[in-house]
């Protein structure tokens, strides 16, 4: 746990901006959309950071972050005239559960050695915990990305207007 200060939030935002921006290059997004991916990633991750510090739990916080990215992505898509996936996908990747996947794998390697497991059965619990956490987090990221299709019953975000969001659609 870190202290919840403006500086910490800003640091989080900056790093997430960098990660989102660079990941957009890896995924081959168009040049003019790179900064959108960075901004969305920064916002989503900053929200996740704040919620984690407020003790909302990792999965809830990640879900909130990715849903924020998905919703803002819909409106950004109107503004920059492009399908939202192009920048929401790199933005959501900033929250990828790399550390848990790594721990799962490390525990998995240790399980292959019988004496080690017999000595310390806690490894099994650790492995399944990290595995479930990794899978849940990946799933929440995907939900955030397709939130538009899920909530608004429209096949293209071009048809989603602000009215739909406030409930008059």
């Amino acid at each position: 746990m870190e202290e919840l200060t403006i500086i910490n939030i800003f640091r989080d935002f900056t790093i997430a901006f960098l990660v989102g921006f660079c990941w957009a290059i890896l995924f081959g997004s168009p040049k003019r959309l790179l900064w959108v991916a960075g901004l969305l990633g920064g916002m989503g991750h900053a929200l996740r950071f704040i919620l984690i510090q407020l003790d909302f739990g990792m999965i809830t916080a990640t879900l909130a972050g990715s849903v924020l990215i998905g919703l803002i992505g819909i409106f950004a898509a109107h503004r920059v005239d492009s399908p939202p996936v192009v920048f929401t996908m790199p933005a959501c990747i900033t929250m990828i559960p790399g550390m848990f996947a790594y721990k799962t794998m490390l525990a998995g390697i240790k399980v292959t050695d019988l004496p080690t497991v017999e000595q310390n059965p806690h490894i099994l619990i650790e492995m399944s915990h990290n595995l479930m956490l990794t899978m849940s987090l990946l799933f929440t990221l995907a939900i955030g990305i397709c939130i538009g299709a899920l909530l608004f019953r429209k096949s293209s975000v071009k048809n989603i207007s602000f009215k739909d969001v406030i409930g008059k659609g």
């Binding site: 890896l26 005239d81 492009s82 399908p83 790399g98 550390m99 996947a101 490390l106 995907a142 899920l150």
Partner: protein, 266 residues
Amino acid sequence: MPEFRNINEKEKISAQRFADLILDIGTFLLASGAHCGRLSSNIGRLATTWEFDINMSPTFNGLTVTVKDKNDPSNSVTCYKNSPPHSVHLAILTAVSHMSWKVQEENLPISYVEKEFAKIKAKPNYKDIVVAVAVGFSCGGLCLFSAGDEKNALIAFVAAFIGYLVRVFFARKKFNPMICISIAAFITTLIAGLGRLYGFGEHPEAAMATGVLYLIPGVPLINCVIDLIEGYLPSALNRALFGGFILLCIAAGMTLCITLLGIGNF
């Protein structure tokens, strides 16, 4: 034979020509990382513009379509096409989406799309060295998120940078893509693991965990869930299998390296 005559001031498009075009567009979209819903909405726009009825069954490595002319039911054909090798390039999605909207709004002829799509296909991706630097920065950033300090981030940067270049090198030599991923994971873990052995930085395991993240098949895994939600089951299964196997390859490369360095050290 394609036959041209005016029906209501519209050129008649032979079903075969239309099917060839959308198979080309569809498989290319699939290979660039589009989910199936996007495929059907983009192609659906073209079909409504030129008054075709269209049914399709996308899978991960191919596309089957049946097209039928709404004004002439005998003008109908069913075709299948394999998709080109998968490499994520999201700019293609933007370009094709633009094109399909433009066609629908301005009622453009099929020859325009054929020409425009040839241009889209030739679109260059970013240069390898640019991507390698970007990959380094993003893995370094993720390392900072996983409680690593600046030194760990530096290790993650170097490991990801070199790992990506190694992967590109082996991909150029036409090695099996899965082998390329395993080798890249091995090299990345080796560099990060050396940092661990010599105690460089405070949390060296953060660098080891995040260094390989550039190999994660994010696009197939996320598309898999989107396809599941939208009901494209065969393609969702294929994507999950593909993504899962890439994860396994990464784990295999890392496992080999960690075992060589000694599991007791981690």
